[in-house]
């Protein structure tokens, strides 16, 4: 009985988080806050489904399955990497040197750290 409530609770939590994550993708105004909504909330949503599936496997079907742990581990490892890449695409395509905050001791944001077109030709010919 308790496990049934637990599974239902995990499933409802997962559904709410998945919905909110994608709703935030539409609703939020700033591109960097749009990055926040799906990468965190959807991972929690999938985590909830996988937890429910694990409890279901132990309590109802009577054996422990480790597939869910594998999927969770893979998602938790790859979600930050994809978020980083999407943030870099945004910095590269939609921000200029003036719209970004100062980069601190590095001086300039790495994606904008390219030499102007003319300079490059001059150096290669020299």
């Amino acid at each position: 009985m308790i496990t049934e409530y637990l599974i239902a609770g995990f499933l409802i939590m997962a559904g709410i988080f998945g919905f909110v994550g994608s709703f935030g993708l539409i609703k939020l105004n700033d591109p960097m806050s749009r990055l926040h909504a799906p990468t965190k909330a959807t991972t929690l949503g999938v985590g909830g489904v996988l937890l429910a599936s694990m409890v279901h496997g132990i309590a109802v079907e009577g054996h422990l399955s480790l597939h869910e742990v594998m999927i969770t581990l893979f998602l938790f490892l790859t979600a930050p990497v994809t978020a980083l890449f999407i943030a870099k695409v945004h910095l590269h395509r939609h921000e200029t040197l003036k719209s970004l905050p100062p980069a601190g001791e590095d001086g300039i944001w790495a994606t904008h750290d390219v030499e102007p077109e003319g300079e490059e030709e001059k150096q290669s010919s020299a």
């Binding site: 049934e4 409530y5 599974i7 239902a8 609770g9 499933l11 409802i12 997962a14 559904g15 709410i16 998945g18 919905f19 994550g21 994608s22 709703f23 993708l25 539409i26 591109p31 749009r34 990055l35 799906p38 990468t39 959807t42 991972t43 949503g45 999938v46 489904v49 996988l50 429910a52 599936s53 279901h56 079907e61 399955s65 597939h67 869910e68 594998m70 999927i71 893979f74 998602l75 790859t78 990497v81 994809t82 890449f85 999407i86 943030a87 870099k88 695409v89 945004h90 590269h92 395509r93 939609h94 994606t111």
Partner: protein
């Protein structure tokens, strides 16, 4: 009770996939499109695990793992193509 909770989760994730599709169609920036595609992959993965839970089979876990891998690789490839103009240098 589990049946109703699973139905609720099905509806939520289906709406989430539709919203991702809407964002892919209507986004102004390419970063938003990549992000919407990535979250669509993750929502489809959740739907697949839910379907396996509802049917009581384990065959969908392998499929879910492959979907997760494809989603990661395609997102990174797309982002790298935008960043560098090339995927493997």
């Amino acid at each position: 009770m589990i049946t109703y909770a699973a139905l609720f989760a099905f509806v939520c994730f289906a709406l989430a996939v539709l919203m991702n599709l809407w964002k892919i169609l209507s986004a102004e920036e390419i970063a938003d499109r990549i992000l919407a595609l990535d979250s669509m992959f993750i929502n489809a993965l959740a739907l697949m695990v839910l379907y396996g839970l509802a049917l009581g089979t384990e065959i969908f876990f392998e499929a879910a793992l492959i979907i997760a891998m494809l989603g990661f690789v395609s997102t990174v490839a797309y982002a790298r193509f935008i960043l560098r103009g090339n995927i493997i240098e």
